[in-house]
Amino acid sequence: MKILIIEDDAFFQRFYATKLTENGFEVVTASDGEEGLAKIAQTQPDVILLDMIMPKKDGFEVLQEIAKMPNAVHIPVIIFSSLGQEKDVQRAKELGAVDYINKSVSDIEMLMAKIFQATKVAPNQKT
């Protein structure tokens, strides 16, 4: 399964890419919203992990752009959020995000569960 991580923070990009790769996922990364949109078109990921707080184009703008892309609108998007920003999570879901994960939690098992739930793929079928 191919995961696109759109995340401007080098630490979290490496952290999640490493963890997901160790667990058998194919990982593509993008460091900002514009690069992320280009890589969606190029790589057609199965799931997108999207940071909401990024410079230039933030996660909300990326969601709005994805909604206009016929070849991308079906791709499930899981957003990274922070505690206390429930309004942002709600707004992201209204824009098409299917789930969220708290970025300050390093529970990779939870993230993988959300990925499988988003794609309705059983864990033993992930590759």
Partner: protein, 127 residues
Amino acid sequence: MNTNLAQYKDLYIKTATKYVRDLQDGINKLQNNSADPAVIDSMYIAAHSLGSQSLVMGFTSTGQCCRSIEHVLYANKTKQTMPSASLQALLQPTIAKIAKSLQTIEESEQELSLEEQTQQLAPFEKV
């Protein structure tokens, strides 16, 4: 430090140092009477990222203090206001102490306690 996280320490220090610098630059601009909303945006992203990274790495006191700064700046962002003089007076030494905490983390993998600063920021989160 958790052995699984030790591999991320150098990258954490590198990116965290940049975020602390962004916070220091921002507070300096505010104290020079900058009214540019981009200053708040930059500080907000820095506090968000530094807080999230610190919590993942297990530096809870540093992470929670940065979270408080993030929440305070979120309030300013949503209300399109600049931090008050009293908040700025609190932010400057808080950011300085975060910088020192990062230094001790690099030297000894131990953070400083920032509980007092986090408590002092709490009233400003609701403004």
